[in-house]
Symmetry: C2
Subunit: 196 residues, 2 copies
């Protein structure tokens, strides 16, 4: 698909057909994720990839415990045949930038004007969302309130933080997010030419 | 260009031809940036867009003061005809999620498992980099050590943080980043199937 069409078609998908994500698409999603840019080519990302029904059920039990669900259509997201939890490792960035070519041997976090570990993992997540669209699928990126429960359920080491998770599959009819009623902020509002 | 080709061609460009970025490409970059996803459709991003030589010179004087330059080929990045500084506003996210449909009226930052304000602004930055590639241009995303000097030079309000800046233009022959010698981390190393 043309790049511009992918950008325009992408939207968060919240309900999925039961068909599994083909293996070659899973491979391409992950391969494209590793082509995201990263500061100092640190690539301090990691992905927990869940395709089996039992693993996905364990994920949802941890990420969205049954006693917090409300029976609304929001639960349709649990129909996604593929979950990719996206992790960032700050440790890897501090270590990378302590190497001789960067020289931040004090590993002082205040040197970092922004959390590039999270931003880079976000780059990888967005490339997976766009790749899904390119291949006729769709996905949702969502934050994990209960990221510690998820880490505990799947043996994720302490030095990795979940920046969010992707639910991916073939789109089924869903309810658009009520947030969309806010409207898109026009370029004239968010772009400042020459000065603020 | 096909989406997959854009993903594979994208690399950080560090030197540029003097030709300006056409106005329709500047428009498309910014329009695509506003099509990035964002938590709660907050769209808490903003962009400082610099095309005029005097503005770009003022940017570089603040972001990379002359007494910190070393005469190396790294200075070629200053040839970029377009600079887009990418900002995130945490305040907008805390306000958005204090609205009734989200209900986080305490505006407590600890509710946020990751800094979605920075991640969403990163999404917008990556879409601009990919759009540049799609249109035959290229770009570099880089962090701003002296973001306060930049803010002061251009009147950026305190509640906006620079997650980084884009230098964009038509690529000229450059020196690939020495960081690339590290090699790409293979999918088998970063992806964990079923469990960690």
């Amino acid at each position: 698909m043309e790049f511009q069409e992918v950008v325009r078609r992408r939207r968060m998908v919240r309900a999925f057909r039961p068909d599994p994500v083909p293996g070659d698409v899973v491979d391409l999603l992950l391969d494209n994720a590793t082509h995201a840019p990263s500061a100092g080519f640190t690539q301090g990302w990691a992905f927990l990839v869940l395709t089996k029904p039992a693993d996905r059920a364990r994920f949802w039990d941890a990420a969205w415990p049954p006693d917090e669900r409300d029976g609304s259509r929001r639960e349709e997201v649990m129909s996604a045949p593929l979950i990719v939890v996206c992790y960032s490792s700050k440790r890897r960035y501090l270590e990378r930038y302590a190497e001789p070519d960067k020289g931040w041997t004090d590993r002082d976090e205040s040197r970092w004007p922004a959390p590039f570990w999270d931003i880079d993992a976000g780059f990888a997540a967005l490339l997976m969302l766009l790749t899904a669209v390119d291949r006729g699928l769709g996905g949702l990126f969502f934050g994990l309130q209960h990221h510690r429960r998820v880490a505990s359920a799947f043996g994720v080491p302490d030095d990795h933080r979940a920046i969010g998770a992707l639910a991916i599959g073939y789109p089924a009819p869903d309810e658009p997010s009520p947030s969309l009623r806010r409207g898109r902020r026009p370029v004239a509002e968010v772009a400042h030419f020459d000065r603020w």
